[in-house]
Symmetry: D3
């Protein structure tokens, strides 16, 4: 089996970190391809950055769709997931949906800790659309930009810790979801420290899509995920 992990921003060190985390958990015999957006923003923080990250995702999906058995989009905004599902019948999942589904099986409620306040409303929309508007008690931001997570000397993790503590104390959250691909490395240690599940989506999404692919399940081609109609595109379209 071959899975494709797409980093929708252009920062290849983030791709490498995600791929490394992913490779360590996949089954023997599962090959992991990774791809980095060839254009667009270096990080995705809110509506504006999201908008520019979708076409490069679709370029990658279009190029690889016939060669892979499943796709993970490695941004917590689940950017481009719906569009990508129209291009292929293999399972496609975003790390937000995967992490929230895992959290909902491990705990009765959870809070999300993401990077910046500007990203919060988009994540609240995802929680609503995925049906977690009640189980997801709050989306919190630690006010650390995405790229500062990479070389954290302690400040980022201190700010994340403060939000986790607040989520446990104020909302009584039973689990924590880390709301950024760049936070993946923090999950294990925070989980031990706070003695609650602290879930990051990259590895969860990869295992989930590996499972769905293993079962031969396909993305529906009825309704919203029907293949795109043939039509004229001008400029940089596919």
């Amino acid at each position: 089996m071959r899975l494709l992990l797409i980093n929708p921003n252009t920062t290849s060190s983030m791709t490498a970190a995600m791929a490394k985390a992913g490779a360590s958990v996949l089954a023997q015999g599962t090959e992991l391809l990774d791809a980095t957006a060839q254009y667009g923003p270096e990080s995705i923080e809110g509506y504006y950055d999201e908008a520019f990250s979708v076409p490069p995702i679709l370029d990658i999906v279009a190029a690889w769709q016939s060669a892979v058995d499943g796709v993970v989009i490695g941004c917590f905004d689940d950017t481009g997931v719906d569009a990508a599902r129209t291009l292929t019948d293999v399972p496609v999942i975003g790390i937000c949906q995967a992490a929230m589904q895992a959290a909902a099986t491990l705990a009765g409620s959870f809070s999300v800790v993401t990077t910046l306040g500007r990203a919060v409303p988009a994540l609240e929309h995802l929680a609503l659309r995925y049906g977690y508007e009640r189980v997801c008690r709050r989306v919190r931001s630690c006010e650390v930009p995405v790229l500062e997570l990479e070389n954290d000397r302690g400040d980022a993790s201190r700010r994340i810790r403060a939000q986790i503590q607040a989520a446990l104390d104020e909302e009584g959250a039973e689990a924590i979801v880390l709301g950024c691909a760049g936070m993946a490395n923090f999950a294990k240690v925070l989980s031990q420290e706070f003695e609650v599940p602290v879930i990051e989506g990259v590895t969860v999404a990869l295992k989930w899509v590996e499972s769905l692919a293993c079962l031969g399940l396909k993305t529906s081609s009825r309704g919203g995920y029907a293949p795109p109609r043939t039509k004229r595109f001008q400029g940089q379209a596919l």
Copy 2:
């Protein structure tokens, strides 16, 4: 006052038709600029097309934002509205939100009639996000592609009529919202024929944004609509 009407697809005849409809309803002294996406799909029918239409919208908004008092995005998927709101503090509205708000003031319930079935889920998500998941009784499709609406010889309108009749009979809808910018010309005659409000969003959105601008109201810059952070973009980004 100067308003900007953006057609996010590349079909300039649709821009012209929308601009003509808009020009006839704006107040004396309101100037209407129109702009057509410079790249991307010729029509927007579902998730995939949407994805490619957002960057050209943002190009236009970035170029004009200091010169206009309000922006309307002329696609019923409200494509790019959130991202556009981060680029300017003038009011920005999509024709779906505008039409649904109008319908909710004129009737106790409504159904949407859009083009293709593949577009329905995206519109259901908008209804949910805008709070109309109860008042919007159903999103129906007439299975007429967007560009076939332009030169209708009767088949398109016959199919739209059939869905309107079904919405009145089956859901008891008290009003109808036409779910495509290309249907704007049908609204008046259908309204008279069926004796219920049949609402198209282009003119409603233009009058609504003109009103908000006239009142000096601005888009919030707190939270999700905060201006984009400065960062590196590769490729065709702004």
Copy 3:
């Protein structure tokens, strides 16, 4: 075009203040009529007062409905709006619905600041009915009675300010809706002071109904807004 602004309480100074604010924003050629309830309470603060303010509204609508192109009911409880819509086919809007719709186009979330705690549940019901139970983060009260807003020497505005600050800090509201017709004059200055949209409904409702009327849109006469059946009324009925 001729619009009718109804003050459902009997305090004519409030009518005058609302009409003055309204007159300054309407288009050239739009005439504004105003009417004050001829009987009922001097201010509307909660369920009891509301009940007595509806019949005088309907008297006014019945008298004027054939002579106007749109109606605004100038009480944030949207008192009598549903009943008024059965009496006329011109657009009728309440200032709560109008303000919330504006807020939902300018910001991702908002909180309401109203007068007294006893008015809060009725406004929460409106937020739910209008679909804003998620986007409206909280309805707050500043504990200033309606009529004390008229001659504020600073205490009222200080109390309103405190609630706005709390809404920004505690709920992360991206905009504020002022929940009383008597607060209209505070909107501009508070908007500048807090650097978020602070929205009052009287002018928004007037521009919105002017827009709908300009577009020839009518209130539905199907279902809930069908004209009243002819029947015997005893006592002060129409």
Copy 4:
């Protein structure tokens, strides 16, 4: 114990029928007072009629509140219930809320069968406000005006039967709520005929309020049901 049953329309034969039904179910020692609106419409069918029926209800509540232990408002629109609760600390209940609560304890879902289509949206709002937007599967109308229920020669009951059958077949409703005080007499026979609970609200509301009063429970005076503030009323106010 003394209970007050208010008929908010002016048709005293309906009051008598409700009082007769009520008297047959109350406990020994419970006295039932009944009162008919002294002004307003002869029947309540939709938003307009509702508006005129609230002040006469409040007149009655104000006159009797110190002399009774509980109040039932005998109109399925639960007209005036909120306002009445501000005037007294004894329990006040409407027949819609009572019937829906009973249905929700006897069945997993129910549909409402009411009189006219124009009354449906108001009942849908009540279902939402009371939390039954899921359990109440549909509000149906049989298109029989209220006053024609009184002297039914078979047509009304035939139309009600047809709607009940449709509710069982189409929505799989597990119980039926009769959505008009005038339908009370039909409940028993329809219940036997269709072998599902067919619930009418008048007797349920009386027993429920008798129970709450027996337990010494009072209406809250915090928040929305705080007693009205003293203020000037013009005209026919209290």
Copy 5:
């Protein structure tokens, strides 16, 4: 009339206390039977205990169903209520649903104060299922185990008081529901002290089921409450 009050835990002193409270409020001529679970946990605090308390409830219902006119299950988790309703056509109610319905007729909002934090999620699910996810503002725990309520020397009531005060201050609750059968004795005095309705479910449920039975209302046998199919049970089943 004969009612059956079931204590689903094995602590017979709790049964006696509930029966005593119930006996004091029922109508003359209503006989109250009580039954204690013959096996299972001594108190019910969360999902695990709940699971073991349902079979003994069903044993009791099966034994008595033809001899009683209504059943109350005296645990705030409404344990076994759905299953019990399949075994009999007399009304069956749990004390949570009864108390919440009473609260919703006496106040615009309420908070629940229950025993332990582990019980909170199950009660939140009940609030959602019963439609009170908006009106029930919060489920709070005072961290007093069920059996410590029986011989309170002041600590339990002090902790309950603290949560009530917080509910009034923080959520603006208009009423309080006591979330444990063992708290029944506290209701009256707390109601007087805090001057809001403080509702306990045992007496409410008994009066409610007495009322429903008096009206001849039956549990539906359509859908979810259809009688169990005949099938083989191994081990301790009926």
Copy 6:
């Protein structure tokens, strides 16, 4: 890794069929234990049967919890899942939640096809609790008892087909979830026949729990899933 698959009914042929399906999809190195309820009903069809199937589940979980890395409960009612999660910190999942989560990643909407109408309300409650009350368009029943699925000679599959076709035609479902462990064998062929994802939960749940266990994720022990308190149980308790 070692997973435990529990069949909560006493029919061991169903256990064998589920275990066989599961064994074929698990990773090399994953051992699958299976266990059949030692007492209780031979099949689970509705609230009553559910009640008796939970204690035997908990017996099995208690016996095995220290020896396994994950638990799947093989009944579509997700019977006992909450209670089981309090007994162990390894991931525990029911086949309904797993199947619905898979469906929500593969399609924009789905309908469930289950066995008997009496099981429908319990599944609607699960859909609501899991947040799929919008995405799950309808829960349908084919009126085939569980145990008749085992030796189907065509009638069962014909009835299931009819419901799938209706779900596609009437609700526009984009995927189908088979709502009974006994339907697992039908999934592949129906998926091919109808050209939409037809999902059964047993294999999905096993792969999902294998994934969560592989990632080292644990069930939360905060709040609702805290370990049971030590207390006296009478009779057959643990």
